[in-house]
Amino acid sequence: MPAAIVVKNLTKEFEVPAEGKTGVVATLLRKNKKIRAIDRVSLAIQEGEILGYIGPNGGGKSTTIKLLTGILTPTQGEATVIGFTPWKERSEYTRHIGVVFGQKSLLNWDVAPVESFRLYKEIYEMDEATYAARIHYLAKLFTIEQFMHTPTRKLSLGQRMRCELVAALLHKPRVLFLDEPTIGLDAIAKQKMREAIREVNRKEKTTIILTTHDMNDIEELASRIMILDKGKIIYEGDLDKMKNEFAQEHKIVFEPNRVKDEKKFAQFIEKYDAEQSGRFYTLVFNSKTIKPKRVLDELFDLCDLEGFEVFAPTLEEVIREIYAHQPA
């Protein structure tokens, strides 16, 4: 598959006032200092792929998205998105992309979402029939028919966010940028939104960059992730591969019913350094050296169990692990 997005050594610096004295003269003379919001970021995304773009607050995710949507001009570096340089060919390029900023509304606050949709229809030069069919499809997919004629300021956050998605998808963009689209939504709303996004991606082969702090979003939508910290990419790869690589510490909690061989059981407990609390035992092991199934087989041989549970690390924990291992 051809690459939809190729980014090479993209860097964006912002000027911020250097801290120091705050007197009138001092403020006027004060030099600005430069901070690097993103630092030589390179990436490639295939057509139709969903990339999870994650990282701690201030990592540079939104800055990357603003660069790739042509809103910001970079300090250095190159980017090609479906054949365009975003900040140079804005008027032609932006016809083919859609963007949602969870933190900012794209809809006019005082009027109903449909009025904003109609404005976008004119901006994207859609004819009436195409627009009607598209709205019909999207309104159904995101279930917004009930409230799309109500002024935006009277909508709940979840309702508004679904309308934002519709506004971004109206013109059938080839690339969709989602910057925290599920922020503040409840569990069911999140689930619905993910399903709709997946459907669009599957049906229209939309390439998607998704930024989020919710690892469930990533787990359900993204096939590949990229982790950005302090402007630098610190991890890039398949979700499954990453789990294999980092999610090694497994845990088994079990409750023995009848021990067949007390002596062997004691050895087993010692070998895995299991902790006992009441009738429950907890043992922790590295899944790279011992497969969980082998541990369980051993356990079944030694005793009958009342119950047991195996814990693999959640994506949340894996990510936390990766963040934590970054040098400060």
């Binding site: 006019n108 005082d110 009025e115 901006i123």
Partner: protein, 266 residues
């Protein structure tokens, strides 16, 4: 290009619809709107009556001032409809809201300015009413040629004022949050109170490139009361078009540079 114009027109039409819907949400504003305009006119009227009772302003008498007041109301309302929204641009630059339109194939200020204008057509009506009143009480010099000249003068004049407003607003790309727009734009607007002919040449020159009250108000009034030959209107129109071209070029340059500098806060 023709298709592009058609598209711009449609974007503007839908933006107007949104402006109207926003105003309709807050209906009582319409009443305030009309009454504040009537009060404004009365203040203007009594002020001039007392000034004229004591001194002489070369060439201006009450019928002339009534016509001038008509054009002032029309200008003021058009400013509210088409230029007031520029203030919002300045706000969007500093708050980062401009992102929304920068990520779309549209000249960002077009929908912003129209959507955030103030639906002040009542002022246009009041202005026209004053002109009709002057016409029926004192009689005016009016023919299709003069009417067309006046219409074009006002369009060109509004164009110049718009470019100037956009230039001042664009400075926010560099200066961040500031009240420069209010200080400069509405500061210059204060000159609206008087016929421009009473000011020294330097001020008239500044007004010509910023808010050309000469084109918008004074000259149309002079033409209607028949104090200058029709050809004077055409000469001013030519000069106005030149100024408009210069202002539009400057506005475009500053805007383009500003967008490169844009920092998308928030």
């Amino acid at each position: 290009m023709p298709i592009n114009l058609l598209k711009q027109w449609r974007v503007i039409a839908q933006s107007f619809r949104i402006q109207w819907l926003q105003i309709a949400e807050y209906k009582e504003n319409f009443v305030f709107d009309v009454s504040s305009r009537v009060i404004g006119f009365l203040v203007f009227w009594f002020m001039w009556q007392s000034i004229l009772g004591n001194t002489d302003i070369p060439g201006w008498d009450l019928p002339g001032l009534l016509v001038l007041a008509g054009f002032q109301n029309i200008t003021m309302s058009m400013m509210l409809i088409f230029i007031y929204g520029v203030t919002k641009i300045r706000h969007m630059i500093t708050s980062g809201e401009l992102d929304n339109y920068l990520a779309r194939p549209v000249v960002p200020w077009v929908p912003v300015v129209v959507q955030n204008g103030y639906f002040a057509f009542s002022g246009v009506l009041l202005g026209l009413a004053l002109l009709v009143l002057a016409w029926s009480s004192f009689g005016l010099q009016i023919n299709p040629f003069i009417a067309l000249t006046i219409l074009l003068l006002i369009i060109v004049g509004m164009g110049i004022a718009f470019c100037f407003a956009l230039i001042v607003a664009s400075l926010s790309f560099w200066l961040g949050k500031n009240d420069l727009f209010d200080d400069i734009f509405w500061g210059i607007y204060e000159f609206d109170q008087y016929p421009t002919t009473i000011f020294p040449g330097a001020i008239q020159l500044i007004l010509a490139f910023t808010i050309p009250f000469m084109l918008l108000e004074t000259l149309p009034a002079i033409l209607l009361i028949g104090r200058a030959p029709e050809i004077v209107g055409v000469q001013w129109l030519g000069a106005g078009v030149l100024v408009l071209i210069v202002d539009a070029w400057i506005a475009n340059q500053i805007w383009k540079r500003g967008v490169k500098k844009y920092e998308a806060f928030g």
